[in-house]
Point group: C2
Chain length 112, copies 2
Amino acid sequence: MNKSQLYKGSLTTIILKLLEENGRMYGYEMTQKVREMTSDELTINEGALYPALHKLEAEGLLTVEVVPAGNRLRKYYSITLKGQAETVNRLAELESFIEHMRILLGPKVILG
Amino acid sequence: MNKSQLYKGSLTTIILKLLEENGRMYGYEMTQKVREMTSDELTINEGALYPALHKLEAEGLLTVEVVPAGNRLRKYYSITLKGQAETVNRLAELESFIEHMRILLGPKVILG
DNA sequence: AAAATATACCTCAGATTCTGATGTATCAAG
DNA sequence: CTTGATACATCAGAATCTGAGGTATATTTT
């Protein structure tokens, strides 16, 4: 993850939210979606993405389904019920983080 | 740093901004200030704070001045010119991060 | 006066998360 | 037939944090 730095810990929140919104996605698709949504300003590093997906799956927040696409493979990820609950927590934590930053860094910040 | 999680990377931004606003502070004072400002919701972990202060000093973003307070020592930190420039960058990155999260996570988030 | 809490600094092992490089393989386009 | 896109992956090393522990002085409570 790079270019206009993300704070460590935010990647999993993005993954969960993308899957919550789009139902089912594969890793590479996520990198493209984020590029597209941020006009190339934000790039998900695949070296961070794939391990993160594996971890979320191991934690039972995602399920995976391997689907052949032509002669290649795609691993489609979907969010589980547990994952949906975790998404709520993650978003609440992010809001809390932003509120604290607003308090600590002053009103100039974050109102952009 | 804990309790209502901060994202990794935000601690140095907080330190720089506190010093920019308050002119001169020592480590322990920063932990108390953050507690006070966030009504105890956010606690800076000293195990993260002190190494961060040492690193910022090593990078030339802060200067330190050891001052006896009674029979104890305080290490007062001040921000350098270089540190002020870096603060501008850090705040811009934070705003950028928040804007990207707004785009990726939807309008419900971040608007409180 | 003794014990507990607050002030004030610090280190260190281990965990987490990320970067950047590298690797494999298929597919489309020029 | 090579370049670039698609699609997955791993790994060494860096950065940052948590949680625990340590030293010492000062103040407050019992």
